[in-house]
């Protein structure tokens, strides 16, 4: 048994992704320790309680776990959006705006056109795709940095969506008799067919949050992984990302690929917006804040080193500690979880450094083992 473990360890540590995984785990660990220190500073006597809330609440009941999955689905999508673009050499910081456009198209087509949920989701993808295409076109044809344009398109998207929603009475809640004029309609009143089906999962998990969106997100992650790693299209996209010059020399149309890459990234984020707001439980409030779901896609992607399969897990993790953070209230402000996430992002930016340290430790343990052996 012992030997088997050793062998397993040996094969595991030689896997290429292993160091990345350990580096991410280390970032998470240090982030949690830092969060715990904050809890101690704010309210030492409750600090252990606070940390345990963060760490266990997500699994404490089926209902809480449903909440984790419910928030994870759109996070996977925005994470995929950022991660996919990153794999192709583009920094898509505009997932937030693409998510907003996806949300708008889903709501508009679902309520005004009375589209069923699947058609509304396709419209959401389209909205995100258009919003992603903009920075892509600017980058490809005018060489404008996509970071700048996508930040601007975040704000353009936010205000455009707010203005549009405020002027379409049918999508607002008070049209259906509710008393909050700055909110979008409750889907069950506006169009039941546009709500993403639950397939009985809601009764199984005893939570209205539970639907099939998490499965759709996971399937899309697998598809993206497949496209990136197994197709000539993915081969071209990644080649452009790693070395644009060499790709051009190889006859690859780099401009077209930049636009396509941003279109796909945008449609993924837009799909996330659709998933969240077609759940039947979420209503959009018209305010001047960019959707955090879009920005949280960045840490999700970073933590997974942009690996689509890794993104599934990192999104689940971020969602998990967010649910835990909400449960810390009122003893602690839930923003502490945001601080923890920030620390984790900060450290994942050092992932190369962490990887180097981990590699050294593995080597040291290997040579130490040799020296002990007769």
């Amino acid at each position: 048994m012992k030997i088997n473990l050793k062998q397993a360890w040996h094969t595991l540590k030689n896997k290429p992704g292993f160091e990345s995984f350990l580096a991410s785990a280390a970032a998470i660990g240090i982030g949690l320790i830092f969060g715990f220190l904050l809890l101690v500073i704010f309210k030492a006597e409750k600090s252990v309680y606070g940390l345990s809330q963060i760490l266990v609440v997500g699994f404490s009941s089926a209902a809480k776990f449903s909440k984790v999955l419910y928030q994870a689905a759109p996070l996977i999508m925005t994470g995929l959006s950022v991660g996919f673009a990153f794999k192709t050499g583009l920094f898509n910081i505009g997932a937030s705006g693409q998510y907003m456009l996806g949300m708008f198209m889903a709501l508009y087509s679902g309520i005004v056109w009375q589209f069923p949920w699947y058609a509304a989701l396709i419209m959401a993808m389209l909205g995100g795709a258009i919003w992603g295409a903009m920075p892509g076109l600017f980058k490809a044809y005018f060489n404008v940095n996509e970071v700048i344009t996508s930040i601007m398109f975040n704000w353009i998207g936010l205000f455009a969506v707010n203005v549009l929603l405020a002027n379409i009475p049918m999508v607002l809640a008070d049209y259906y008799g509710a008393s909050n004029p700055d909110r979008t309609a409750n889907m069950s009143a506006a169009n039941k067919a546009a709500i993403i089906p639950k397939w009985g999962l809601d009764t199984l998990f005893d939570s209205t949050y539970m639907n099939i969106s998490i499965f759709m997100a996971i399937i899309l992650a697998v598809i993206i992984y497949f496209v990136l790693n197994r197709t000539t299209f993915g081969y071209e996209l990644k080649a452009c990302g790693f070395n644009r010059n060499a790709s051009i020399y190889a006859g690859i149309n780099a401009k077209r690929n930049i636009v396509l890459s941003m279109v796909i990234a945008g449609s993924l984020a837009g799909f996330g917006g659709g998933l969240y707001y077609l759940s039947g439980t979420a209503q959009y409030t018209i305010e001047k804040l960019l959707a955090t779901m879009g920005f949280n896609g960045i840490p999700v992607a970073l933590l997974a080193t942009s690996n689509p399969i890794g993104i599934i897990f990192s999104a689940l993790f971020i969602s998990y500690i967010q649910v835990g953070g909400e449960a810390m209230q009122p003893e602690f402000a839930k923003e502490i979880v945001d601080i923890i996430i920030s620390v984790i992002i900060y450290l994942s930016a050092f992932s190369l450094l962490l990887k180097g340290i981990i590699r050294k430790l593995i080597k040291q343990s290997a040579t130490a083992g040799k020296e002990v052996a007769p």
């Binding site: 070395n243 190889a250 006859g251």
Partner: protein, 513 residues
């Protein structure tokens, strides 16, 4: 009193993962020119950096005149009268020649610079050693050759007795190299001791008294130049006999493969055209070499040939097919292969595996995919085939990440990829830049093999030795014009140098053979 002015005894220096110097002993006699020979990465520069105080050795001692000395930084080296001319000059561009020479050892009185005293000493030194410089010219305005003379004067101004030259000829034209050789002989005549780092054998034969050869961090031996030959030195350097002169039979060139007619290409740097109304052709079974000093339009010409830039005007045809307006991919399909000038920037996707890089020019062929799904088995099989055929060495075979491979093997991968396409025309731009002598020999052999199998080869090179050695016909490009056409058998390096520098020209229009 010892015979040797400087002795480096059993020097060992390790960097993470590599022994750069392994128990090396180097003894410099007073008043000799001592060459230090070795391939890239053999440890020459590390050894000299230890002597100059930039690195500290883990083991070993340095003696001067038989006394043990400690050199912890360049100031210590200076105090021991050791000076160094680095490969990349250490000069302040916006300072004058005089200011650069006295920098750090300014003669002052009441902290006011005694400029006249400095000038007198510099003028006297430059006359004594025949190092002509203009003391008041700014460094950015003077030629590379004069910059080098400034570096030498810097050493002399500090009364250095031991002068280290790190690859001093790498940046010079043939005429400037000749002048430098004369200067070195002059320095020797005045009793200076000189250490001369190089990997060019001819220079050693010309100017050195003795030569120490390094290979992979180890000292292979020290020989007297009058008792050795170029062949022996190269064998010591590489570890096996090396074919220095490329073996190629006479061939009568066949039909025209590439025809370039009145090609004009715009420049990205300035408003003038980089390539001006250039016409030439490349025939089957010949290697045409485009010689010239960097920045005279070679790059832009190649961009236009390979399709990366659109020409302003002109026409190019490959075996009669007009390719002027074709895309990069179409030109590649039509039979142009291309070994680009910067393998990291243009030739390889460094974070892709070797297999992925080997199919970079043909992954779209039906045999490598089915409906867009990459056929990994076919890709790996193809890669393994090329790896064994072209002897590409790497850690994990086809799955090695190219970034981790050596420069020579990276270049071999590109050569394999481009030649295996079986092109009509192979364009190779400085294919041997930064490679050691073994890899250079390999690349040259491959180029000649292409020529012998009846393909056209267009070689762009800055190395005149390579130009003379490999080509069947030489075109000299100067300021975007082809200013001369030569047969390598009937011309000299000096003559080419004059044309390359723009001192002479006889414009060639039409590329008649």
């Amino acid at each position: 009193m010892s015979d040797f002015i400087i002795e480096m005894l059993q020097i060992t220096k390790e960097f993470p993962g590599i022994k750069a110097n392994d128990n090396i002993t180097l003894q410099l006699k007073k008043g000799e020119v001592h060459a230090l020979l070795g391939e890239n990465g053999a440890g020459k520069s590390t050894l000299m950096s230890i002597l100059f105080g930039l690195y500290q050795a883990e083991h070993g001692e340095i003696h001067k005149n038989g006394q043990k000395v400690l050199i912890n930084n360049p100031n210590d080296a200076n105090a021991l009268n050791i000076g160094m001319v680095h490969q990349h000059f250490k000069l302040v561009e916006v300072f004058s020649v005089l200011e650069n020479i006295i920098l750090g050892v300014e003669p002052t009185k009441y902290s006011v610079l005694k400029r006249n005293e400095a000038r007198q000493k510099i003028v006297q030194l430059s006359q004594q050693y025949k190092l002509s410089v203009e003391p008041d010219a700014l460094i950015e305005d003077i030629s590379v050759g004069m910059q080098q003379r400034v570096e030498i004067l810097k050493m002399l101004y500090r009364d250095n007795e031991i002068l280290i030259f790190d690859e001093p000829t790498a940046v010079l034209t043939p005429q400037e190299i000749k002048e430098l050789m004369a200067i070195i002989r002059g320095l020797k005549a005045e009793g200076k001791s000189i250490l001369f780092i190089t990997h060019k054998l001819n220079e050693i034969m010309e100017v050195a008294d003795r030569c120490t050869v390094l290979r992979k961090g180890q000292c292979i031996g020290t020989v007297d130049i009058d008792q050795t030959s170029v062949e022996e030195l190269s064998r010591m350097m590489v570890g096996r006999p090396v074919q220095l002169i490329v073996d190629k039979a006479d061939l009568i060139p066949g039909e025209i493969v590439l025809a370039v007619e009145h090609l004009t290409v715009a420049s990205k740097l300035h408003k003038n055209n980089a390539v001006k109304d250039v016409s030439f052709n490349v025939r089957a079974g010949e290697i045409v070499c485009l010689a010239g000093i960097e920045g005279n339009g070679q790059s832009e010409l190649i961009y236009a040939l390979t399709g990366i830039e659109k020409p302003v005007s002109g026409r190019l045809t490959l075996k009669g097919h007009d390719l002027t307006k074709s895309s990069i991919r179409d030109r590649s399909k039509a039979g142009i292969s291309h070994i680009p000038e910067d393998r990291h920037k243009f030739g390889l996707v460094l974070d892709y595996s070797l297999a992925e890089n080997l199919v970079l020019q043909r992954y779209w062929e039906p045999r490598f995919h089915q409906n867009g799904l990459i056929n990994r088995e076919a890709v790996n099989q193809y890669a393994d085939n090329l790896i064994s055929k072209y002897d590409i060495r790497s850690g994990q075979g086809a799955q090695t990440i190219v970034r981790s491979m050596s420069g020579g093997n990276q270049q071999k991968a590109i050569v394999a990829r481009e030649i295996d396409k079986n092109p009509e025309l192979l364009i190779a731009i400085q294919p041997t830049r930064g490679l050691d002598i073994g890899a250079i020999e390999y690349i040259h052999t491959q180029l000649v093999a292409q020529r012998d199998s009846g393909k056209g080869v267009l070689l762009v090179s800055l190395e005149l030795d390579e130009v003379m050695n490999v080509s069947d016909r030489i075109l000299v490009i100067y300021e975007g014009n082809i200013v001369g056409e030569f047969d390598p058998k009937e011309t000299t390096v000096e003559q080419l140098g004059l044309y390359m520098a723009g001192a002479r020209r006889n414009d060639v229009k039409g590329g008649q053979v």
